[in-house]
Symmetry: C2
Subunit: 161 residues, 2 copies
């Protein structure tokens, strides 16, 4: 199974959109920050929009914005929005499989593996986008680069005025 | 992300090997039961052997066998044996990324996503191969096909002798 990078890219993009109004974040800004193609980002934003996590306003001053505050968006919301489907798939054995074991293994494994995936979702549900942003900010502060934080430039400008 | 069928196939194969001595299960039997190619099964068994969950004896009366009782093998042992690596990958942003946010997001997201994956592993660790076999047996019994259970044919033969 190829490791999934879309999820991390989506969290990164949503994290940037949390500062959308303040910094007027565009999909090109996001693509540059993740070092990926803007088309990839626009496709991802379209997907998040269909799921209702992001709204896109057209025209000047428009762009993609979160539809609710980052404290009300969990990582499981984002995970589910990507619509990856179940992590594990159980090869479907026909109901008429000649082997009684074969017929029974499928439904049993499907149940067990879906329950395991719920363990993953429970962890993701415990973390909000706001938690992620907070951790990133604290890490930046520790490394002495708080001056580069989103909004910091504007805040400095305001103080200078 | 493509759903992973290897995991379900590996659990199915290990479940059959739990009856290996009794029924002299071969990789061809497993492949037939899962309706897949024997080469796929042999590759999978080689992987499980490298991880020490399965041992292959050569020669007559040989074949693949579990190295410990199914009650001592958890689904997380099997999952880890498949060596799929992390579920989610965080695009690595260079340490010298011009954006301080970009530099901090990577390590923060990696930590959060690894923790989420641990939620999945915890669920898998709570289920043994023996639990899976028990569930399959109970389901077969409910459907009135217990006579087809592994070992049932031999048991009937013994009673007939």
């Amino acid at each position: 199974m190829a490791a999934n990078t879309r999820f991390a890219v989506a969290i990164h993009a949503m994290g940037m959109l949390a500062f959308g109004d303040e910094l007027n974040v565009t999909s090109d800004d996001i693509a540059k920050s993740i070092r990926t193609n803007p088309v990839v980002v626009r496709r991802l934003l379209a997907q998040l929009t269909r799921w209702g996590l992001v709204a896109v306003k057209q025209g000047a001053g428009g762009g993609a914005r979160l539809t609710r505050p980052p404290a009300q968006i969990t990582l499981s919301d984002i995970y589910l929005a990507l619509g990856e489907g179940p992590l594990f798939q159980v090869p479907l054995l026909s109901e008429t499989h000649e082997c009684a074991v074969g017929r029974s293994v499928g439904p049993v494994l499907t149940g067990i593996l879906l329950r395991a995936e719920k363990g993953l979702l429970a962890e993701l549900q415990a973390v909000t986008l706001s938690d992620v942003i907070g951790k990133v900010m604290r890490r930046m502060k520790k490394q002495g680069c708080a001056r580069d934080a989103p909004g910091a430039a504007r805040a400095r400008k305001k103080n200078d005025d």
